[in-house]
């Protein structure tokens, strides 16, 4: 793609702008789409993602709900069962717990329990993740609480172009999708986003950087830090392959296995706790499918097994990883 083509066919935007642009197009192009959540109307969402939507599309399509997360999702389930395409917002992922049953017990099982008669084409968007001084209740990662659940899809894009492609795919999807947006990447991460409608298939990982000595699998904010760390190791002659998972369920198992079979070493990096996290499933899967391809024990670089990151900078810092910590672990594993 030449520079001029790029200008004509794409725009530079950050992740929050990519979410906003995609939601806008969805409202514009599909009458069945409604957005509901706390403060999505007059306020335009706490990150201004839906700013002014209510003026253009009206309060019937951009619904300021009461503060009641279980029914935000539950009402969206009913709308979806009756043919609408609701996009429910949980203001912060930390607030999703009251709606746990509606997601796990209802949305994810609607198709299954009715043997395909009723379906639940629903998107639940929510900002997650730390590094923003969000304290205990504005910084959690929730993916491991939900990825155990068949019937649900979970997406966690890291780049603006993926945000748009995967959010479009989620809205088009005939099944419920939990769409996770890392809030620290909202304004931090910019990139080219193609114009027009396009989708990126849910369940497909992306090899961001090819390498030969070690495979790193990550998603969300940490993909950016892992990439930075991997690039810094090039100078030392350490060749790291970086895979952006993009979708957590379904998970692109073949992309992980292919990479591990090539590099023979695996490091999984995520912001969520280590115990029972996504890395545990990836490690178990690689151990089952490719143990004899491995030249070193699988490593996981994840949050410690504590309830949450604290508000104090020291506590947040201790909980979070960093490009330097990631580089050190990569170096260590490459040398094994």
């Amino acid at each position: 793609m030449t520079t001029s083509e790029k200008t004509a066919s794409s725009q530079t935007m950050n992740n929050v702008e990519a979410v906003r642009a995609t939601l806008y197009e969805a409202l514009k192009n599909d009458d069945r789409v409604v957005i509901l959540g706390e403060d999505v109307g007059a306020r335009g969402n706490v990150f201004l993602i839906t700013k002014d939507f209510i003026d253009e599309f009206g309060p019937t399509r951009v619904i300021d709900t009461p503060i009641a997360e279980a029914s935000i999702v539950g009402i969206a389930v009913g709308m979806a069962m009756e043919g609408l395409r609701p996009i429910a917002e949980i203001q912060f992922a930390d607030f999703i717990y009251p709606s746990f049953n509606q997601i796990v017990g209802e949305a994810a099982k609607t198709r299954y329990r009715s043997n395909g008669e009723y379906t639940c084409p629903l998107v639940i968007r929510t900002p997650y993740g730390g590094g923003v001084r969000g304290a205990l209740s504005h910084s959690v990662s929730i993916e491991a609480l939900f990825y155990h659940v068949p019937g649900l899809k979970i997406v966690a894009p890291a780049f603006p172009a993926d945000v748009k492609g995967l959010l479009n795919a989620a809205i088009d999807d005939p099944d419920p999708v939990l769409f996770l947006e890392h809030k620290k990447t909202y304004r931090l991460i910019k990139g080219d986003v193609p114009n027009g409608h396009y989708t990126i298939p849910i369940g497909k990982a992306n090899v961001l950087k090819e390498g030969s000595q070690l495979s790193v699998v990550s998603y969300g904010l940490y993909v950016h830090w892992a990439l930075e760390a991997a690039q810094s190791l090039e100078a030392e002659g350490v060749s790291v392959e970086v895979i952006d998972l993009r979708s957590i369920r379904p998970m692109d198992r073949s992309a992980i296995l292919q990479s591990v079979e090539k590099t023979r070493k695996l490091l999984v990096i995520h912001e969520d706790n280590k115990f029972g996290g996504i890395g545990a499933e990836i490690s178990a899967m690689v151990a089952e499918e490719a143990l004899f391809s491995l030249d070193a024990p699988i490593r996981r670089l994840c949050a410690p097994d504590v309830p949450a990151m604290g508000y104090a900078e020291t506590l947040e810092h201790e909980f979070m990883s960093s490009p330097a910590k990631m580089a050190a672990t990569m170096r260590d594993l490459a040398r094994f």
Binding site: S71, A80, M81, Y112, R113, G116
Partner: protein, 314 residues
Amino acid sequence: MLLQRQLDNRGFQLNRQGKVPFALGSEGHEALQAGAALAFERGKDILAPYYRDLGLCLGVGMTPYEIMLSIFARAADHNGGRQFPNHYSSKKLGILSFSSILAAHIPHAVGAAYAIVYRAEKGRAVLCTCGDGTTSEGEWHESVNFASVHRLPIVFLVENNLWAISTPIEKQMAQPEIWKRAAGYGIPGKRFDGFDPVETYACVKEALERARSGGGPTLLEGVCYRFLAHSTDDNDMTYRTKDEVTENRKSDPVPRFEAQLVEAGVLSEEEASAMKRAVLQETNDATDRAEAMPFPSATDLYENIYEGAWQPWQ
């Protein structure tokens, strides 16, 4: 009403014969559900029922054969033998699918009512039912609140049978007249005798017509009684007395309504007997037909998880 009772009994009989692992009754709810079903407009309204609504689902068009398929967990059951019996679902009849989790279906009903308004579909409403115990759930409140804010076309019908498995109403709520909560939501509320099908019909019809014509939600409370234990796995004599049940049986709505009809000259005793014989025959036929049907195949376990083929992790 007769058919509901006969099918209820059949479920319990089949369980006691060891033919089915579980059955759930609705005895005592017949009048309430017959009255409500008559007020429901087939082909237009949406029903969001709960598991005690056998009569309501029969009343809006479900057949005894479908009920028996569900009791026997056969492949042709509306849920493909996946859910417990009495977990009705029929897109054709406007019956929303629901789970066993109490109050989880109330927001779905509200979402469906929202869809009706959103598409500007005139003359349609949602009838959403639940038991008294369900009104303790947070989602019940959240849903009635949202529906009231948006004045949605929905009727919340609480079938108050005074028992939530073993928990009596006085342990469920300090103020036992559920309809009075309507004032807190700024919507009309009404309590009626759920043993009286005619009064039920009038109340539900009035509320549904208000909903269909843009008048917003109504909270209705029909008072009835649960004559049977919660299910075949429950023993109600561990928490209530035989005397209490016997006392309530004196007002059993099924023989009471029959006597009223005979006295009014609408029904002769011969006709009543013939109806009972016909209902027994219908139940027997449905039982035999359903029992002869195959179970789902084991590989059905892997179907309808997502759209299209899905390869589960093994």
